[in-house]
Symmetry: C2
Subunit: 341 residues, 2 copies
């Protein structure tokens, strides 16, 4: 369910690395929240292609193609460019300038202690051969957040250190200039948590082959549900079954709008007499109903590439104004030498 924001004046910054098609995990954890939050908040969604390059430097073409694909995913789920500013990171030079200033306010030791970085270094097997840009990306994220003067940043629970790092830098800068030049940000952690993969593993991820793309066809949805992980000990329909860790129920919890029916199905499954096939048939319907209109809107936008480009151009233009103004304010507050244009 969408995370609730309590601050109507909040500026929200969120975004994605354009490394592949967005999937149901993104929808559950963030995309549908953005659709809800865009009403009554100033929301910026950043397509973080520059950040994606920090560990994909050799494959910039792949990243570039997915800028457009991710924009299609956004429009498909109902992120409305009239309500949300969708923008492209690499086209916002103020973010780089602010990153460079912020890098002087953080020690290398502090970056290496960042739990997110530590974990990702391990997952990616970088060791000491970590690209310098990757080590520094939490500082670039801090610059993103600060540049938009974002006060609310929807992130997964594992990404909370990013906000801590941002606020450390912001406080140090504010202390140095003697006033609250930049606001601190607050993490907005979705209540629903991270969606498991269709195979039952903790994280849905394209690279692990356990994801269901937002653009999935009906057949792909049916196939995914068919092979979905349930309760391995639930051998006969009459056996009592486990609901916890049973991906089919996890997904019903996440996506079935009829909470009462899900509640009843769980009770029935637990006491026995409800087969996997019946529960899967319900989930299949729920997912087809959810994804069919998304896929249709996606196809319609895909047929209008110039309009999508215009949306990114206009959003980026607006973002350029906002981020440039913050950069100028920071430069002025630090008293940097100012050369006329």
């Amino acid at each position: 369910m969408p995370a609730t924001s309590t601050d109507p004046g909040a500026v929200i910054l969120t975004g994605d690395r354009p490394t592949g098609p967005l999937h149901l995990g993104h929808y559950c954890g963030s995309l549908r929240n953005r659709v809800a939050l865009q009403h009554g908040h100033d929301q910026f969604v950043l397509i973080a292609d520059a950040q994606a390059l920090t560990d994909n430097a050799d494959d910039s073409g792949h990243i570039t193609r997915h800028v457009h694909e991710v924009a299609l995913d956004y429009l498909a789920v109902g992120i409305d460019p009239e309500l949300t500013t969708i923008c492209v990171q690499s086209a916002l030079p103020a973010l780089c300038e602010l990153t460079q200033l912020f890098l002087n306010l953080v020690t290398v030791a502090r970056l290496e202690r960042n739990p997110t970085i530590k974990e990702e270094i391990q997952v990616r097997g970088f060791g000491r051969d970590i690209p310098a840009g990757f080590l520094c990306y939490p500082v670039a994220q801090a610059a993103d957040i600060a540049a938009f003067r974002a006060t609310l940043v929807p992130v997964g629970a594992d990404q909370a250190p990013i906000i801590e790092q941002t606020n450390e830098i912001v406080r140090r800068l504010n202390r140095q200039v003697g006033h609250t030049l930049l606001p601190e940000a607050r993490a907005l952690i979705p209540e629903s948590g991270r969606l498991a993969g269709v195979d039952g593993r903790a994280k849905m991820s394209k690279s692990q082959g356990n994801a269901l793309a937002l653009s999935a066809t009906d057949d792909a949805i049916r196939a995914a549900v068919r092979r979905m992980y349930t309760d391995p000990d639930h051998l006969r329909v009459t056996d009592p079954g486990r609901v916890e860790g049973n991906v089919v129920f996890t997904y019903l919890d996440a996506f079935d709008p009829d909470r009462d029916t899900v509640h009843e199905l769980k009770a029935h499954y637990r006491r026995g007499g409800l087969g996997d096939t019946a529960v899967k048939r319900r989930l299949e319907t729920v997912l087809l109903d959810l994804l069919a209109p998304i896929r249709e809107r996606r196809t319609a936008w895909a047929d209008r590439p110039d309009d999508v480009r215009d949306i990114l151009r206009d959003g980026t233009r607006r973002a350029r104004g906002v981020t440039q103004a913050t950069l100028e304010a920071v430069k002025d507050a630090l008293g940097l030498y100012r050369v006329g244009r």
Copy 2:
């Protein structure tokens, strides 16, 4: 004596961190070379305030004041804004954008192995608390050199690793895009080497209190020569004296235009019968003759602050065109997503 360049088509990039007034060491090692090289080369001189902030983040006001002071020093020694483009680093966003792209092409391990960085970490006593910006500054320098498409970079012998690092990045980028997108650079190491401090220590440095500023008054010059380190064993005029390591002779070698007389003085000093006072009197004259017109030109420019600002504005504007064009070429070659303006 000025280093000789052998490539008339070369683009030269050089510059200084504006951390304090430039002194005789800068004049000997680089400034007078620039005055010579500006004829027949496309020369850019970068006032590296952004780089100075990497280890002076707390004192941006000090750096900013010295942007103007360093510009005065340049104009005073005869760097001619009609022949040399003088520009301010922090006003060139393309340098930051290129730095961010380059950071993805270098590993943290490689940065930590940089001998210049290793030494400076030690000298500054940073340890693991080195600012991230300081660790990354060789990448920023590589971006500077690449952005200006510089092929010739006058540096001290100890700064050669900077050029190596630049060329590693340039080669990696050229390999990735499949053609020579950016030129490699060559270090131009001055023949004269580094000027010793007036106290005989290897390096003239304001922080060590053994420097003679270009703006020094006649009295300050006389006082510096008076207390200058000679040969501690040369007690009486009749004693034979040592010329090696004798700072007075080092300076005569560096600045006395009359080579023959210096040669004779050395021979006389070695065999005995020439007093320190006499040699110092000659050096005093040489330095007064050298520095008086520099100081006068400096005072004249200092009286025209708006003209100095205009020179920096015009130079930075030209530099903006050059560096922005390089950045666009790199982005196009990497196929980054292009948002219209």
